[in-house]
Symmetry: C2
Subunit: 354 residues, 2 copies
């Protein structure tokens, strides 16, 4: 059977189906943002890991190594925050092809270190090896949370409100912009070569990024939402379920509804969008709602709260109530601007389809 | 600067030079088999990670996926045992190219699961993605040890005896045998193609592995030495320093001597060798001592004990006393069978040189 028939989550389900925990320390295993390990009375340990491969997850033609280091850390820290935890340690494994210099790796590490410092996280180990092919990055983050207080994807109930932090779709639009400018550059380069010019005779390429700084930063240098976890705690709000939006809002809602055994209704006119996201979508003739639902790489937090918390949640800056959970069997629905009900399809990025 | 000028440990030193721990939970960071994290009063947490890349660390032409899964787990479990710890959890990230089927990944996972079950370890998470190139495997193992009892590389003192478990050099000789038979097969295949035959018209290739089963198993299916950690504990023996032998005995002795600030003397005639290792080395015209010192991938334990423990250690099955530590400045020496003193060079496998 071909792997793409199953998709990432189907494959993981199949491979991990027979697993049972041998250790009482294993409180929560495969299937959430982090594993939850119970090693002491006061705190639980959170563990998450991400594998980033050149050509699949990043393109070094337009990704500065410093930003790549920063983002590699952030995508893992984001998973710790998505459990309501605090990141503490990171391990960093890198496979390096011979085209990289020591200075390149120092740039990568400086971005990584800056991300760790900003979030009070220590780099405690890793592995360094050569790669015959592209740059390979594998990071594991470890964090902690008060015992029993990790926020999973399982706890949402019908009538809970659905909230997201920040705005959606910007990272995806940033990626589209980078890909467009890359194509322009590569075309100019090819034309020059066809004319018999050497690449270094060309004037420096100036990509058209004016007024698009926000979406570029969202793609290249995302920030894990430690501030939202803190704001919720300060306001005494405890999400019933939470996860980070890495694959796209639709896909993540499917996870929460499936694991909490609920349906959901979200409202198109409540989706938080930045002006640049909308403008870029229009320029590229893309449906901005589709980008917000399925774009991925937002690294915002998606969470549910009891209905009684609505007013306090809505009053918090940077948080938007986009809908509510429903009983199981009522489907996962997007209510359009015209009131039409559409099925929410989990067509977020499939890392096994590329 | 080219990375190979620095080598793996030079590069790691340079990249991690400025790191300071922000968390009191970070007890020991980069530079040992595992990081040691202090999250509770009773137990410390151990974390280790390894990145395995196709074409660098393994060759799928002769490595069954089930064995690869088993070995991928073992190399990490070995690092937990090398701290005197007990493995508890594992995360598994894999980058899969399109040539693999679901069934292939099930084979890989079955080997991985078998290794975990044999060592009472739970698979608690990971990441699964496509790879544009070869198979990528990144595993992180988590274990525990009584608080303050992790055995580092730092504690050896002059006059401590140096011990190794099992025997050395066999995994390397197994690799040489596999590479030889691969070359024979590829040559037969090429000759058949040159004759106009189709590969599937050839009789099945029968590699010449008779009487070499042990060295093949050492290469393809190594076993982490949980039994040695238990035997030492049962005998009341507490190593002053310990690590596992993954890069080769010479390289590991350099780490322990450097971190413990000692020299060492080991004796060529004390190096534990299996008969198959010696026979294979002779057949390939290789110096068996060099293979034992620098072969790597033995996944045996190298440890030091106070001199007063000599008789009890020497009485334990599967443990050999190979020499003793010396004061700093006295060098790292191999005493040959003829009594000559040779400098021990750390010419173990350099993962950044390939």
């Amino acid at each position: 059977m071909q792997i793409k028939e199953l998709g990432e989550f189907g494959l993981i389900s199949r491979l991990t189906a027979g697993l049972t925990a041998a250790n009482t320390e294993t409180h929560l295993g495969v299937g959430d943002d982090c594993a939850v390990l119970h090693y002491g009375e006061e705190r639980d340990i959170l563990v998450t890991t991400d594998l980033l491969l050149e050509g699949v997850h990043f393109d070094l033609q337009y990704t500065p190594l410093q930003h790549l280091g920063y983002k590699s850390a952030m995508v893992n820290l984001s998973d710790i925050y998505a459990m309501g935890g605090r990141p503490r340690q990171l391990t960093v494994s890198i496979g390096i092809s011979s085209r990289f210099s020591v200075e390149d790796m120092e740039l990568f590490y400086s971005g990584l270190s800056r991300a760790c410092q900003a979030h009070g996280c220590d780099i405690v180990g890793g592995d360094t090896t050569s790669s015959r092919t592209g740059l390979t990055i594998s990071i594991t983050a470890i964090g902690d949370v008060a015992a029993g207080q990790a926020i999973t994807r399982r706890g949402a109930r019908p009538n809970d409100i659905i909230c997201v932090s920040g705005d959606l779709g910007a990272a995806y639009m940033g990626l589209q912009l980078l890909e467009r400018e890359k194509a322009v550059y590569n075309q100019q380069l090819q034309e020059a070569i066809d004319r018999g010019q050497k690449p270094d005779e060309l004037p420096p390429f100036e990509p058209d990024f004016a007024g698009r700084e926000y979406i570029l930063e969202r793609q290249l240098k995302p920030e894990a939402r430690a501030d939202i976890v803190k704001a919720l705690a300060d306001a005494g709000l405890r999400p019933t379920a939470m996860m980070d939006i890495s694959d796209g809002l639709s896909s993540e809602l499917h996870h929460i509804c499936s694991q909490s055994n609920t349906g959901c209704r979200i409202y198109e006119d409540r989706l938080p969008l930045d002006y640049q996201t909308a403008a870029m979508a229009e320029e590229l003739n893309l449906n901005v709602t589709t980008c917000a639902l399925n774009g991925g790489e937002d690294y915002e937090l998606l969470f549910t709260l009891p209905l009684t918390d609505h007013d306090r949640a809505a009053a918090l800056p940077g948080i938007k109530v986009i809908g509510h959970m429903t009983p199981p069997g009522q489907g996962l629905l997007l209510i359009g601007r015209d009131g039409a009900e559409l099925d929410l399809k989990a067509q977020g990025w499939n890392p096994l389809a590329t």
